[in-house]
């Protein structure tokens, strides 16, 4: 061994220079503030009635006045969203792994999966409400139904894109089929799996609210449904704002999970 190889130090990668928080978020926040100000101004100047198009200040007032109602409702919706998403990911993983292991299943079941996505949820939701009642179950079904598909497709693509040399290498290292899956294929597919989950996470709140619209006694969708005929438009908008904040939070949580599982993975 020559000295050059012995003294070789690990390559230290310079951390990507992160822009400051302000440079990163500043423009987006600035634009949002400008738009809200413009909105407030237009509503005040044009004298638009609050039941048609409430000013931001009115929305904030509605949110503060009905904070207890919104808090309870958002907890209900968040539960539906998170549970539904978890069910979707679990089901999607089982399906993706089964299809990956069995070419026959993949040939027979995959067309059915695509067909499942053409079923209009608009039609399905009321039927589910009749079948399962006003409880959480029909919402979970709807959320899971919307969310599982992007996860299956991405997970499957990830599993299929494995460098074929890796399973060969593993076979020469005495790996069983299962060992190849857990040590090579699954970690390889993880980044793709997470892009599927991220897409699913953005669909989930829509599914939950839709489920609530079709029959419920609680939740943000229920609040909107109740407030609209009462012409409490500001409350409807407040519920939308809460839902948006929830969605962004969910998206960020998935992101954090993704980075923690990919610590060393620079593929």
């Amino acid at each position: 061994m020559t000295r050059s190889a012995v003294t070789a130090r690990p390559v230290v990668r310079a951390r990507d220079k992160r822009p400051s928080a302000f440079a990163r978020w500043g423009p987006a926040i600035g634009l949002a503030i400008a738009l809200v100000a413009l909105w407030e101004l237009v509503v005040a100047l044009a004298d638009i009635p609050a039941y048609l198009f409430p000013a931001p200040s009115a929305i904030v007032r509605a949110a503060v006045d009905d904070r207890a109602l919104l808090a309870d409702a958002s907890l209900v919706t968040a539960t539906e969203v998170v549970l539904g998403l978890l069910i979707a990911v679990a089901v999607a993983l089982v399906i993706a792994v089964a299809l990956h292991f069995s070419p026959l299943l993949s040939k027979t079941v995959f067309p059915l999966l695509i067909a499942s996505q053409t079923v209009p949820v608009v039609v399905l939701a009321p039927i589910l409400a009749i079948a399962f009642g006003y409880g959480i179950v029909p919402k979970l079904v709807i959320v899971a139904l919307i969310c599982f598909f992007p996860v299956v497709v991405n997970a499957l693509d990830g599993l299929r894109s494995v460098d074929p040399d890796l399973p060969r290498l593993m076979r020469t290292l005495d790996a069983s089929r299962w060992a190849i899956f857990t040590r090579v294929e699954f970690p390889w597919a993880l980044p793709r799996l997470f892009s599927g989950v991220r897409v699913a996470a953005t669909y989930a709140p829509i599914g939950a609210v839709f489920g609530e619209w079709s029959g419920s006694t609680d939740g943000l969708g229920f609040v909107m449904l109740q407030a609209t005929p009462q012409l409490r438009t500001a409350l409807v908008f407040a519920a939308i704002v809460v839902l948006t904040v929830q969605s962004v939070a969910l998206f960020l949580i998935v992101r954090v999970l993704e980075t923690t599982t990919r610590r060393g993975n620079r593929r």
Binding site: M1, T2, D165, D174, G264
Partner: protein
């Protein structure tokens, strides 16, 4: 069971992909604990040959024997293959890449790490156990890959252009290092390369293949006296004459 270093023998091995003949009537033998280099033009089916010996596939014609093993599964159990690319798993630390074979056999990760750790010292990788593959230099990655292959503890080592991806300086270092490892701990080795010098430096015998469909042009036994440094060996008139001979055989094969 078979002693450390079973022999390898090929007889009448031929193969084709569709209509394309790749290998034709390949035959050679490697005695236990000896090393054989296979040189040939690129694309002549050298890697395919290794995957046959390794038991990853079976040739269309002929027989491949590793020790007593004839069927692919038994060959797979007897051979360790080091591929051209280092193929380190980016989501495993250096040491956890090296322990793969042990973990695949059901050794708990902690125990596997403990067993592999001393080897890092010997492979001049001490201190890098917990590094991620992307933090290692090319030569170090290659050594981790080689370590992973050795930990599999097989009778036969199959090396597929093990240093092909390295720059010439690192490559020379690695060749010296491998020569040291194989001298201390001889194993039956079949090494595929297109670098004639590498084959002559590291192997007892060299098989020269023709372009596709590959046939054995010549089998040369490299009986060079043991010398100290690489520079001396390479400058040795016997060595240069042999290198010239192999090169001319290679170009003859092209015709």
């Amino acid at each position: 069971m078979t002693p450390r270093g079973a022999g390898v023998s090929l007889d009448g091995v031929g193969h084709h992909y569709g209509d394309v003949d790749v290998l034709r009537d390949i035959a050679f033998t490697v005695a236990p604990q000896r090393s054989l280099g296979v040189v040939g033009p690129s694309g002549c089916g050298k890697s395919t040959l290794l995957s046959f010996i390794a038991g990853l596939a079976d040739p269309a014609e002929g027989t491949v024997r590793v020790g007593e093993a004839l069927d692919p599964a038994a060959r797979l159990a007897a051979c360790a293959l080091m591929p051209q690319k280092d193929l380190l798993l980016p989501w495993r630390r250096a040491i956890d890449n090296a322990t793969l074979a042990l973990e695949n056999r059901g050794v708990p990760r902690k125990e596997a790490r403990a067993r592999v750790a001393p080897l890092f010292e010997r492979f001049h990788l001490a201190g890098f156990e917990r590094h991620w593959p992307h933090e290692l230099s090319g030569g170090m990655r290659q050594r981790v890959a080689f370590l992973r292959t050795l930990v599999a503890d097989k009778d036969v080592l199959l090396l597929d252009e093990p240093f092909g991806g390295l720059d010439s300086i690192t490559r020379a270092d690695m060749q010296d290092w491998l020569r040291g490892v194989l001298t201390v701990e001889p194993r039956t080795t079949v090494m595929v390369t297109h670098d004639v010098e590498e084959a002559l430096l590291l192997c007892h015998e060299v098989v020269v293949l023709s372009p596709r469909p590959a046939t054995v042009v010549a089998t040369i036994s490299v009986d060079l006296p043991v010398r100290g440094s690489r520079a001396e060996t390479v400058a040795d008139p016997e060595f240069t004459a042999m290198r010239a001979r192999v090169l001319s055989l290679l170009s003859e094969g092209v015709r």
